[in-house]
């Protein structure tokens, strides 16, 4: 792996970590305070006194690293050599959603039977996903636009 891929890997981990903290905050914000008290017996996410606990941050860290690895597997050619970008994207998001659901179940982040928690998680995760896709698409469009403008400039220069 070269320097560029390594820095991208760490960037992905940071984005995933930020997303998870945001989702946790949204879940907390949506959950009624009484419920949050009950949930704190279940997961350290809800024992917010001095911010997120080390245990929660470690759990988020593990999921973030796995997200980075997931991205590396599907969006580079280290393992999968030939696949369409759209297929890669769908596969990556499918694995990501399965992984997050497993993490919710394994780390007991909230009670899956509780509607508010599920809703909070869905809204938080969905919002972060939409924002990240929107930002990703926008960044790619800007890059493509810059490249094509530069191409036209060079083509014009060549004409003269």
């Amino acid at each position: 792996m070269d320097k560029k891929s390594i820095s991208e890997f760490f960037y992905c981990i940071c984005v995933a970590m930020t997303m998870q903290i945001t989702v946790a905050l949204i879940v907390l914000w949506i959950s009624p305070s009484g419920l949050a008290d009950k949930q704190s017996e279940l997961s350290t996410i809800y024992s917010f006194g001095g911010g997120l606990s080390k245990e929660t941050l470690l759990q988020f860290g593990i999921v973030s690293v796995l997200t980075g690895i997931n991205r590396l597997i599907f969006m580079s050619e280290l393992i999968i050599k030939n696949a369409k970008p759209s297929v890669r994207l769908v596969a990556m998001f499918t694995v990501e959603i399965i992984m997050i659901c497993l993490a919710v179940w394994l780390f007991g982040w909230f009670r899956p039977k509780n509607l508010e928690s599920v809703l909070g998680f869905a809204v938080g995760f969905g919002a972060c996903l939409i924002v990240s896709i929107f930002l990703g698409v926008k960044a790619e469009k800007t890059k493509n636009q810059e490249m094509n403008q530069a191409l036209r400039r060079v083509q014009e220069k060549q004409k003269h």
Binding site: K4, M75, S76, E77, P85, R88, E140, K143, N144, E146, M147, N148, A150, L151, R153, V154, Q155, Q158, K159
Partner: protein, 146 residues
């Protein structure tokens, strides 16, 4: 090989003449290089020899030690090697986008980022080519984006 150089202010234009006992591969190479200077490339198709204008060439591709030249209407074959063509055509706006492909910058219709830092190139005739990671960086540099 004897090379003579004659400066004559009364001569209306630059003239190059090659005198040889027979057409050897070396002579063919010299002719090919001179034609590139004249913005032409010697190619073959179905046994016939053609002189293509460099402006008409979209891209060149090496397949199994053969070099194919693509224009909007036809595909020709060149006897030159890819590295030779790369050197000869560099000044005419051709550059490498992968180990086996050389293309004309002026015939690129659009560029699009692809996974793994590659660039997807759409040519004027709608054909899609890929600039590999290494050459994509060189292309960005050429476009003044790096």
């Amino acid at each position: 090989m004897k090379i003579s150089f004659n400066i004559d202010p009364e001569h209306p234009e630059t003239e190059i003449s090659v005198t040889c006992p027979s057409v050897t591969p070396e002579v063919e190479k010299i002719m090919s290089m001179l034609r590139v200077l004249d913005r032409k490339l010697t190619v073959k198709k179905d046994g016939e020899v053609f002189l293509l204008n460099l402006e008409d060439i979209l891209y060149l591709e090496a397949v199994e030690r053969k070099c194919f030249v693509y224009t909007e209407k036809a595909v020709y074959e060149s006897d030159s090697k890819m590295y030779e063509l790369e050197q000869q055509l560099a000044a005419s706006g051709f550059f490498r986008v992968s180990k086996s492909t050389l293309l004309s910058l002026k015939h690129i219709q659009s560029l699009r980022t692809d996974i793994n830092h590659r660039i997807r190139i759409t040519m004027d005739n709608g054909e899609k080519l890929i600039a590999s990671r290494f050459y994509a960086d060189e292309l960005r540099e050429r476009l003044g984006l790096k």
